[in-house]
Amino acid sequence: MSPPDYTTDEMMTVEAARQLGDGDVCFVGIGLPSAAANLARLTHAPEIVLIYESGTIGAEPDALPLSIGDGELADTALTVISVPEIFRYWLQGGRVDIGFLGAAQIDRFANINTTVVGDYARPTVRLPGAGGAPEIAAQAGEVFIILRQNPKAFVETLDFITSVGHLDGGDARARLGLPGRGPTKVITDLGVLTPDPKTRELTLTQLHPGVTVEQARAQTGWPLKVAPNLATTPAPTAAELEKLRALHRRTKLAHARGAAA
């Protein structure tokens, strides 16, 4: 069998893009979520509404922004509003269908840590912190999380819960009074995990082509539950790959611009 003509990151981004529907209102995190959301916009979901926390509503960037408030987002947005307004009227106001987040670490209930590894006061690794994620995770209609799957990222116990997924499972979100449904998909470079309908524990429901259950288990820091009817992700189509690679080419050119430091 010849090796596939795409990378695991490309598979992850393509599959993440496929989760988004045309016309969805999506609050987009920077990095992998932004790549996936824009790929969706450039392929099957031209009417998707992308909201960035910098206050841009309906952004249609030609290249991916390096930061969350690049001029490209403002230039292509339907409207640009202040940061208090984006969080108050649009996110807390309940106008976001899907929150699309990245994460440094998650646990089996899709809780997210982006704050510290180790003790809070004397951290081994100080991570960036919350940003907009806690309220996106709480208040978007549902949440997709995209991150690469490995034992450092998929951990048994988080040192810090920055953003709540399903906390300790079951009806925890309802008990906390969180408005949104929480994480419904975790898309990785190996496959897709979805919360069990009852326990809310992440379950491997889909593997990308060529990936085995053993590999997925080895890259997960807890005993990974696997769905009995495990699906295989369709490989990226030529059209999807072409759009994604062109997007990355344009992005690379755009990010190289500017007087060198």
Binding site: G69, A74, V83, A130
Partner: protein, 288 residues
């Protein structure tokens, strides 16, 4: 009432050792020139407030100007870590940095509360997270109408706010556009405000004027004209974000000595922001 003055005079007059200072600008219009001037004037023991510390506070923290940071996301966006911030938190270099950590929605709401003259902000936030346990300024309040428990966050009331904007007129009325962040709220929440601008003009030239984002001269202490003063951030309509600089910063800031040499050469040994910009064009500057 705003006085138009050189940036060095504005910092000397309005920023004191020990002040709490909010230098805002969300990716866009980050007041880098003012940050440099604070380093140049060797201000110290500052409480730095900012949603995204970014390079501007990485520089101030690494230069030893800060004793405390109030923030919600401390990374180099799209690039990686803020190494000076991390070194201060993880290793206490060049001095320990006290953290007060919130989320973006909280910072935005708490600036709005400060601007509104309220003691705290009310928002639906933090349920189930570990953030409030680490910040005594995040508590909760019960809604008197519905009984819902909501987050209550102490208002942000900085001693000084510093922002960068596109234009001011000769009276010191300030106009900004594009991504607005929390600049208006930060200025109105603060006791004093400094605004640096790309240009000072006879007429702001706003047409139609009614909904333009204008900060009247009478809420601002000083306006300083500093062309390209947001560099390597950007000013919509004037120049683009210098993404290459943000990427190069990773290597400059990763190492204490490289960073110190960079600050010496490009900030301490230059007279002003024009000098800084000129120093970047010299071939032998300290870069990646």
């Amino acid at each position: 009432m705003a006085k138009i003055m050189p940036l060095a005079d504005a910092v000397a007059a309005f920023v004191q050792d020990g002040d709490s200072i909010a230098m805002e600008g969300f990716t866009h219009l980050i007041p880098h020139a003012a940050g440099h001037e604070i380093i140049r004037q060797r201000r110290t023991d500052l409480t730095l407030i900012r949603m995204t510390p970014d390079l501007i506070y990485d520089q101030l923290i690494g230069a030893g100007a800060a004793k405390k940071l109030v923030f919600s996301w401390g990374g180099n966006p799209g690039v990686g870590s803020l190494h000076r911030f991390r070194d201060a938190v993880e290793k206490g270099w060049p001095r320990p940095l006290e953290l007060e950590e919130r989320a973006h929605a909280d910072m935005a709401n708490s600036y709005a509360a400060g601007a509104s003259g309220l003691p705290f902000a009310v928002l639906r936030a933090y349920a189930g997270t570990d953030i409030p346990a680490r910040n005594p300024n995040i508590r909760s309040v019960v809604c008197p109408f519905t009984g819902e428990t909501l987050a209550a966050s102490r208002a942000l009331r900085p001693d000084v706010a510093v922002i960068h904007a596109q234009k001011a007129d000769r009276k010191g009325n300030v106009l900004l556009w594009g991504i607005l962040g929390v600049q208006k709220e930060a200025v109105l929440a603060a006791k004093r405000a400094i605004v640096t601008v790309e240009e000072v003009v006879d007429d702001l030239g706003v047409d139609p004027a009614h909904n333009a984002v204008i900060l009247p001269a009478w809420v601002i202490g000083a306006v300083a004209c500093v062309p390209r003063g947001a560099t390597p951030s950007y000013a919509h309509g004037y120049y683009a974000r210098d993404n290459a600089f943000y990427k190069a910063w990773d290597a400059i800031a990763r190492d204490r000595e490289t960073f110190a040499a960079w600050v010496r050469r490009h900030i301490l040994d230059t007279a002003d922001f024009d000098g800084f910009l000129a120093s970047l064009r010299e071939p032998a500057h300290v870069a990646a």
